[in-house]
């Protein structure tokens, strides 16, 4: 009885939070999965409906399930402490967890993820008020987790090489949108080597710290739902001159570091 009540409550929350035009028929199963998943990640903390100010940008039907762009836009004036992106039906659903520092403009973030099957994607933000707010979107794509990765030696070439792309014009004092690329196969442990028939061991970027002139932009924790060659788009406010420092680490504890002078060379190494 209690479980049923929780499920109904969840239905009401999700019912208003869904943006995709085409909800799945097996809604009850999906809601149960989200209920179990949110319990695992957030415990008994209440998730408020954030659909009014959290917009998830993703294709309704993705062309490549191993490389699905997902963006989160947050409107309004709410202070944002952290952002979680969860792929309900992936085996390791927590794709990314960003904790924002003072140098961040967290209102527009974008990553690329793998989808194993048709699924809801949830964005959960933690406000400065300490509350959690959620929004969801249904995306159709399948097979992204087990898609073969190609030969290991080739995939590990130039490991950890970084690139920074400017997505908007640079004006000191105004938010600058950039995209960080890290060269890394992000092996998820579910990709079978088509020649050896063994699963390629999991090895992926699981942490990154981005700072601007010593001030934190964000701390990132990532899971195997992140696509190979992880890409993160984010915003920060540059001064006349400064440096963006990225320190990343993979699950085999290999560390990668790079400093990007801002402005000037936005593509490097």
């Amino acid at each position: 009885m209690k479980a049923a009540a929780v499920l109904i409550a969840a239905t009401l929350t999700l019912g208003t939070a869904v943006h995709a035009a085409d909800p799945p028929e097996d809604q009850a199963d999906r809601l149960k999965r989200w209920h179990d998943l949110s319990q695992q990640v957030f415990g008994d903390k209440k998730l408020e409906n954030g659909a009014k100010f959290i917009a998830i940008d993703a294709p309704d039907r993705a062309m490549d399930a191993a490389l699905v762009p997902v963006g989160v836009k947050i409107s309004g004036k709410k202070g944002i402490k952290a952002l979680y992106l969860l792929v309900d039906d992936n085996p390791v659903p927590l794709a990314a967890h960003f904790t924002f520092g003072p140098a961040a403009d967290p209102r527009e973030m974008k990553i690329r993820i793998r989808l194993e099957q048709y699924t809801y994607i949830h964005a959960v933000i933690e406000g400065q008020d300490g509350k959690l707010y959620q929004a969801a979107r249904f995306v159709k794509a399948a097979g992204g987790c087990s898609a073969p990765a190609g030969p290991q030696d080739q995939a590990l070439r130039d490991l950890g090489q970084m690139k920074l792309q400017t997505l908007a014009t640079y004006t000191p004092g105004k938010t600058m949108e950039v995209q960080l690329h890290i060269r890394h196969p992000n092996f998820n442990g579910m990709q079978m080597d088509q020649v050896t028939r063994y699963y390629t061991p999991a090895r992926y970027i699981n942490e990154a710290d981005v700072s601007y002139d010593g001030q934190e932009v964000f701390h990132f924790e990532g899971g195997i739902s992140m696509s190979s060659d992880p890409a993160i788009s984010f915003g920060f406010t540059p001064k006349e001159k400064g440096e963006l420092t990225v320190v990343a680490q993979d699950s085999k504890e290999t560390r990668f570091e790079h400093v990007f002078p801002i402005p000037s060379a936005t593509v490097s190494q």
Binding site: D89, N90, Q117, G143, Y199, P201, N206
Partner: protein
């Protein structure tokens, strides 16, 4: 996925191996299985409506990767397939254990109520050899109306047909 599926469907099939396929599960498969009939979505939908065939999904279920960092939240994915199907994970293995083969044989016998003439449909994913093997095996058990549905769960789903969550049956 759709593009991939179309490409998979258009690719000319490879020749049928003489025995069971023991190579990688995923790859180019033949266009036929000796002794069985290949069907696609529209025909399968019709067959389900008319004759309620025995539907057997032989999709594998990959184990959790052993080398995920401690504390990683792993939640076994929900497996969805054609409603009414029975999920037998081992039935399509190239090298099958005696136990798994007996289990498959007994499951078929029970599901067909002992009638070798009852239609039986085998599937897994597109470009998946497991359903090809399971089809061939059902023919070898003496079933006379065995169908192979190579479009798999994804083909069914892409055509807008319903899928539902299921649990595997194990020996």
């Amino acid at each position: 996925m759709k593009a991939l599926l179309v490409a998979a469907l258009m690719a000319a099939g490879v020749p049928e191996p003489s025995g069971y396929w023991t190579g990688p599960n995923q790859g180019d498969t033949p266009d036929s299985v000796a002794g069985a009939t290949v069907i696609h979505t529209a025909q399968l939908a019709k067959l389900i409506k008319k004759e309620k065939p025995v539907l057997i999904d032989v999709s594998p279920s990959p184990p959790p990767p052993p080398d995920l960092p401690a504390g990683t939240v792993w939640m076994a994915p929900v497996h969805r397939d054609i409603p009414g199907s029975v999920w037998l994970q081992e039935a399509g293995k190239g090298e099958i254990s005696g136990e798994a083969e007996d289990f498959y044989r007994a499951a078929l016998q029970a599901l067909t109520h002992g009638s070798r003439k009852r239609p039986v449909v085998l599937y897994c994913h597109p470009r998946c050899w497991l359903s090809w093997n399971a089809t061939k095996r059902a023919v070898s058990f003496g079933y006379s109306r065995v169908y192979w549905y190579p479009d798999g769960v994804e083909g069914w789903q892409e055509a807008g047909k319903a899928v539902s969550a299921t649990e595997p049956r194990r020996p």
